[in-house]
């Protein structure tokens, strides 16, 4: 299946802004997070098709996965 992966903030460093990636059916967001070596301690927000999601949520063909760092401003 095809997943559009969109990265934000420091996750773009040495990776990409947005890319279409091929994955096996029933892959979870976690699988992509692991493959991209996104640091767990910085990962704050996971969105699937614009909706807040969890790492173990299963993706479907055509989904957009957005990964954003933690928000702790001030």
């Amino acid at each position: 299946m095809q997943i559009t992966v969109s990265l934000h903030g420091v996750f773009r460093i040495d990776r990409f802004k947005q890319k279409m990636l091929k994955y096996r059916e029933d892959s979870s967001a976690q699988k992509i997070i692991d493959d991209l070596k996104i640091p767990v301690k910085l990962l704050g927000i996971i969105l699937i098709n614009g909706t807040h999601a969890k790492a173990d949520d299963i993706l479907h063909d055509g989904d957009t996965l957005m990964l954003l760092p933690l928000l702790e401003g001030g």
Binding site: S6, H8, G9, V10, R12, I13, P39, K41, L42, G44, I45, L47, G50, T51, H52, M66, L68, P69, L70, L71, E72, G73, G74
Partner: protein, 615 residues
Amino acid sequence: MKIQTTDPVAHPERIFYRRCTVDLKTGSIKIEDIPCRNLEDVLGGFGRSFQQLAEREIKTAYCAENPLIVNTGLLTGSSAMTGLRTYFSSYSPIKKSKQGMSAAMWSAGSGKFGAKFKWTGLDELIFENRSEKPVYVLIKETINGPEVELKSADHLLGLSTHKKIMTLHQAHNDAHFAAIGQAGENWQNVTMGSVALSTVNQLKSGDDKLRFAGRGGMGSMMGYKNILALVAQSEDKNLPISDAVKKVHTQVIKGGGAARLQPIKRGGGGGTWAAYDVMQPFNAVPINNYRPQGNDLPEELFRENVEKNYDIQSAACYRCGITCHNYISEKNADGSRGEFIAKFDYEPLNLLGTNIGIHEAGQAGRLIQLCDNYGMDAISLGVTVSYALSYNERHPENLLFNGANFGDYEKICELVILAGEGKLPDIGKGSKYLSELMGETDYAYHIKGLELAAYLPETNPGYCWAIAGGHMSMGSYGTLIREGISDVNSWVKVITEDKLHIVGFDMIGLCKFFDITQGIGTQMVVDCLKSEFDFEIKPEKIKDAVRRSFLLGLALELRQGYTKSEYCLPAEVVNNPNPHIKLPNITNKEFIAALDEKVWNVFDAELLKINLNKI
């Protein structure tokens, strides 16, 4: 502190804090050890100062009876990381109810002044009345204990925050400083004056690398009292860090909140500024008076874009490994670091940058620098300016001031300078004042008279119950973006249980980044208290004290004439929903009405138990 117990909950009276009361009218100075009444007194900060303010019936900030209380927290000056906080408390000249009564307020800042103050042997300094002549206050550590002296400050009059500090630095070794700028000196026309706190980086480099206790006009209160600066002179007390505290530090650095703030080269996100990258995908970066337009303009202030033209350096306060802020400097032709411009923290950057239509980093930096040097609260100033610019956008036929529009850098500079010099009171007195003057209050982004932080109110209805400014006294500002929580009951819990605990940091002397998700009622804090003072205390007892202090803050607001209808978001947010924000709408009338009722149900039941006359 004099500590004669290991149980601060059962025996607070066996813990004494050292207070100095200065009567600025007579010059009398009294130093005494005061037994604590409860755990709030032991923890310090606003937990103690609000009990003192509650004892006074003050209607208007600028009156002789309104004290200015300078204190620290229990862990200020300790080996615990971020233990550098100083607190300034008073009835506020800017935060006022619609009835016109001043609200009790505190403001907190880092830098090294707090630790130096604590190391003089003093825990609290109360200023009564006002001085006839401008003075600065020298607080010294001596072999006989702390000494406090009032000194003539004629030579400091008219100087910026930075210049005052550097002038005093020439005269006093081994000292750190708290100073107001011209804005605080012009307290009649500027109620948003801040207090600048010196940093090691500032004194070493000679650059204006300050930290601030910005909120609530505490610098204006200092100006009213005719105190231009405080000097804390003491030897550093760097005791060895115990294994227990070292373990806590590792947790702080690696833990949730702080990890995000670490410099990029240490695997972090690069300071508070990085909030831009997280909020922009939701169109939630405040732009043009909190009205995102669904465009990519905020991206111009993304780090990756700023770095092309400017030098960026991660920065930290004394002995702090969190490194939450950045410095921006000019970049020389050869790529080396040029002249220092300003600190780049998220709030000032947004509110004196994107939110006033300034998208060029150097210009935003110069505005922050002006604001810092005049000694104004960057949040109040930025939001009041953005109100004026939005007014001009709505009324091209009836322009305010110099007719500045969003993005008019030169004209905005002029407004900031005039406000800082006390020549533009309509800006200097804040957005509540200006919007009431103009008869258009819907577009003024303040709640209860205090301007909002740089998080859209559409993302944070919890702002309404913050007792001392949105992002410092109600930690709900990231909840919608971070977790997507959009049901009323969860928000009630967020406001009445989880996120009010952020105020605990402004009791104990630590920065919120120590553990932003959990607050201070944690094993980490318990371990620090055991190591530093041999205290036996349970996290729950700390949490209880924090909650009591928060509720006292609410009770004090209500006593100062606030009605519940004043606990509301700016009307534009509710009446004219912004279609560009890509988040669930949790600020519509129905949601707000339900939230209001449920939150007050919880708080009202507890407020009934507070008897302000018995404090």
